[in-house]
């Protein structure tokens, strides 16, 4: 598409004052892309590894437990992925609510935006506390 570079672009991220609703909107897209790339790959590999006998499974769990020095980097990535899932789910619910035309009042909208972020962190913490508590 030919664009006249002398003309200004429509205003983008740089000129708006950041608010929770804006952050949540951006997080929704970012976590969606993260879940597509990381989540779908991992889900596919998980199923393939499980279907392919002991050796494939060991390669898979070996990857999950891979450490950079003392830091379990992949496991931390997995925690980030579950956070992305919860964030995307909660902000997705927010979008569904807004799709029916509700929650556009400034205060409500701001509160909902904050709730998705607080909720996603809490749910991630609970999920991993229970999972690691099982000693699996």
């Amino acid at each position: 598409m030919a664009r006249n570079t002398a003309r200004p672009l429509s205003p983008h991220l740089t000129i708006w004052r950041w608010g929770p609703h804006m952050l949540v909107s951006i997080l929704h897209r970012a976590t969606g892309i993260g879940l597509t790339v990381g989540g779908l790959l991992l889900l596919t590999w998980f199923l393939l590894a499980l279907s392919g006998g002991a050796q494939g499974w060991e390669t898979f769990t070996g990857f999950l437990n891979w450490k950079l020095g003392p830091v379990p980097l992949i496991l931390l990535g997995l925690v980030a992925l579950t956070w992305a899932f919860f964030q995307h789910t909660l902000s997705g619910i927010r979008h569904l609510i807004m799709d029916i035309g509700a929650g556009f009042e400034l205060r409500t909208n701001k509160t909902m935006a904050y709730m998705t972020m607080i909720g996603s962190v809490l749910l991630t913490a609970v999920f991993w506390a229970v999972l690691l508590g099982k000693g699996a």
Partner: protein, 141 residues
């Protein structure tokens, strides 16, 4: 009187750009199918709300995460069926989401078409692979 036929009271506009009302809107979009993508995205999100919760809660409720336990779980009807639906809908929802992202950032029509194709092939390919693996888990190698 010469001139265009009566186009339902829009004669003046019809004369102005030499087009009938139908000619003006042709190719501009929705003819009943325009909402499909939007609805698909939301319906799959509602299903994934249930299935995603099922998936994570199941992981927490399993006695352990040993391969034999996982295979047993996914071989039963209440493991296999939700998991198959979960996998399918994850890929569909992701495909629909990536469509929006491509449309937003790829202004060039040729580039847009290319990326849509790449995304479609990757999603269908990986999704089919995941479903095959699940079937092999459930029905044996």
């Amino acid at each position: 009187m010469t001139g265009p036929k009566n186009f339902g009271g829009h004669e003046r506009n019809a004369i102005a750009d030499g087009k009938t009302p139908l000619g003006r809107v042709r190719g501009l979009g929705s003819a009943g199918h325009g909402g499909e993508h939007w609805i698909k995205e939301r319906v799959s999100s509602a299903a994934l709300l249930l299935l995603g919760t099922w998936f994570l809660v199941s992981l927490l409720l399993l006695p352990d995460l040993q391969p034999s336990t996982l295979v047993g779980w996914l071989s039963g009807p209440f493991g296999f069926v939700p998991m198959a639906l979960f996998v399918y809908l994850c890929f569909e929802h992701s495909l629909e989401g990536v469509k929006v992202v491509i449309d937003d950032y790829q202004g060039d029509e040729g580039g847009r078409m290319t990326w849509h194709l790449v995304s479609l092939f990757l999603h269908v390919g990986a999704g089919a692979l995941a479903l095959f693996a699940l079937a092999r888990i459930a029905f044996g190698a």
